[in-house]
């Protein structure tokens, strides 16, 4: 039986555009822009300077802060500049711009590990940190921090729900690389020392469920694959925990408070590659899709490839694009330029047509209550939106704005097209 949480809604997926297209590896572009801030936490510092030679996988930035990660070069070549550049989340951020020499030489540090079983927990964590592995679902939280929870935990959840419409990158890797993913999950199991492991997949991805189940049976791993109801936001961390384990994570707290660690399925694959192949995180799968695009695809691209290069690789646009979004259409961020690099948290690049992303006019709240019915955390979104409209920002605190996970389903469902999520963000910004 498919499990779920209360609230949320099945929304049109548009996954058919890319779900049956195998992952295509895109050649390294002539120039990559690698922002030094690709993750939640402190910005990396670089020891390199203009003119330095780098190879694929050379470490170009690191930080000694606890919540941070490392950044690696994704091409071999020469550093053209270290300067501010467009950033898909921060607007502008300091980045290392590297011109490729076309040779694609691997750094000397990248080599296959003969045997993995003697590696202990500490050694594995060190590999995770040094390989720059962060959560690939979108928020890019440093994985080595997640894997050292301050409280004891009993369950590891693998998030393969992929509830955002359009995106199919996680679905493709589950079909194409199930063995690698399962090996990655076993490494996570070793690091965390947990027995209970559940992979949560939405029930519209039946093929992925059966592929993973067959592999698990063949290898007799003790991993459970749990189908989940197809609805948004099923892949939100707290909703996933509620659906599978029926546990609730308090507002503003992390999942370890409920004894759980949630890792994205793509992160498990990246962990496998880092440990078995010695490969740092310098490339990822990106779903490039949207009805404006001539040929949507799932691409394996180097971190730092420009969005314009991806769009060009997909043969450009057939109709004028109205919006380019990084991530999914619900929680992704609209971009102001395609001269923006892919970062570790880029799960998709959507090139949406006028029809898919029309410009709506906001109307008054008609108190229909649809946002209350649908809110996955049981808030009163309409009340918050009206507080923001009438500038009663302090009074809005009684509606617990901090509970909001910013999934955006209230704004999606609103028949008056009110900008509810933005209002809640305003209230949150003032309450800080």
């Amino acid at each position: 039986m498919s499990l779920s949480f209360s609230g949320g809604k099945h929304i049109p997926g548009y996954k058919h555009l890319t779900q049956d297209l195998p992952v295509v590896t895109m050649a390294a572009p002539a120039e990559v822009i690698i922002p030094l801030s690709q993750h939640t936490g402190a910005v990396c510092k670089t020891l390199l300077k203009k003119g330095d030679k780098v190879k694929v996988g050379t470490k170009i930035g690191s930080s000694d802060k606890l919540i941070s990660s490392t950044v690696h070069s994704s091409v071999s070549g020469e550093i053209k500049a270290i300067a501010d550049y467009n950033h898909p989340v921060l607007g502008t951020s300091i980045a290392v711009i590297i011109t490729s020499d076309g040779k694609d030489e691997l750094d000397a540090s990248i080599k296959l590990r003969g045997s993995v079983s003697p590696l202990g927990k500490e050694e594995l964590l060190k590999i995770v940190k040094e390989s720059g592995i962060v959560g690939l679902g979108g928020a890019a939280f440093p994985t080595h921090v997640k894997l050292t929870p301050p409280k004891s935990i009993d369950t590891l959840l693998i998030n393969a729900a992929e509830c955002e419409p359009y995106l199919t990158c996680d679905y493709r890797i589950m079909i194409e690389n199930p063995n690698e993913i399962l090996k990655g999950i076993n490494l996570l199991k070793k690091i965390l020392g947990v027995k209970n492991i559940v992979v949560g997949i939405e029930d519209d991805k039946l093929e992925a469920i059966s592929v993973l189940r067959n592999k698990i049976i063949a290898k007799s791993y003790s991993i459970k694959v749990q189908p989940l109801k197809t609805k948004y936001p099923q892949g939100a961390e707290k909703q996933l925990i509620k659906a599978i384990l029926d546990r609730e994570v308090p507002a503003g707290k992390l999942p370890f408070e409920a004894g759980v660690v949630v890792i994205n399925v793509g992160t498990a694959l990246a962990l496998y590659e880092a440990v078995y192949l010695g490969k740092p995180l310098y490339e990822r799968i990106v779903t490039v899709t949207g009805k404006s695009l001539r040929s949507p695809a799932n691409l394996k691209v180097r971190i730092g490839t420009k969005f314009s290069d991806l769009i060009e690789f997909c043969h450009g646009t057939s109709t004028a694009a109205s919006k380019v979004i990084m991530g999914g259409p619900m929680m992704g961020l609209a971009q102001f330029s395609t001269d923006t690099p892919v970062i570790k948290g880029t799960s998709g690049v959507l090139v949406l047509s006028e029809k898919e992303a029309p410009d709506y006019k906001e109307g008054p709240c008609i108190r229909c209550g649809r946002c209350v019915d649908i809110c996955p955390v049981g808030m009163l979104p309409f009340a918050l939106s009206m507080c923001a409209e009438s500038k009663m920002l302090e009074q809005a605190a009684q509606y617990n704005p901090r509970d909001c996970i910013e999934c955006g389903i209230c704004t999606y469902i609103c028949p008056a097209r009110r900008r509810i999520l933005e209002s809640i963000r305003l209230i949150k910004a003032v309450a800080k």
Binding site: L90, G91, F336, D359, E422, R425, L426, A429
Partner: protein, 265 residues
Amino acid sequence: MKGIILAVLSLSGLSFAFGLLLAWVSKKFYIKLDARVAKISDLLPGVNCGACGLSGCSSLAEALVGKKADVNSCTVCAADSKEKIAEVLGLSASDIKEIKSPIAVVACGGGKRAKDKFEYRGLMDCRVAHNNMRGHKLCSYACLGLGTCVEACAFGAIVMTEDDIPVVNPELCVGCLKCVEACPRDIIYMLDRKKKVYIKCRSHEKGPQVMKSCKVGCIGCMKCVKICPVKAITIEDNLAVIDHKKCINCLKCVEVCPTKAIAVV
């Protein structure tokens, strides 16, 4: 019938007993209120701006009666109501001094002249716009011009000009810091009323970068530093900074600034 009489009697008995209890409690635990607090509260402006450093007008009234605050702490009060407050408190007219609060100035002259990075279509509030990719202006220090400070001002002292830049009316500003708190870009700051000159830019970008995004920003050209007779201006991290303790209001820097980034209040 008997039942009803019983109910009426028992309930009236109970209410009489509770009434007696309440009467006794209100006598026993009576808190003597100072009538002056209410009087002063009425005389204070009642906008709860917080310029006195307390949470609102009623807490200032309490502090005044409790001799924890000075009669001059309210910078908003009109002179005659201040006299009346002094009268209530039993102070003489000589205790009243006219305190001139510092005024808010907006350290950005960009507005429409500062180029946009992209067109912003979200909620018209600077705090939301700033959190979305750090604002829609090419200059990451620039005023976003959506009027959050205008809304924050309880005295109507800030107005938006045609150039989409807020301007503070020194006559109306009481120095309550509400606009400073509201501005997500940190470009409103307080200036002593005696001082006339301030830098109308907060950009720490290098000169050419400033010129690219806006024509009225500080480019760090050092002209003002050289001309200042009292050496009150320095360039810190590509931005001119005036030491207001040294400034003598000679306005020479205003004349010499090539981008008009130094302004007069």
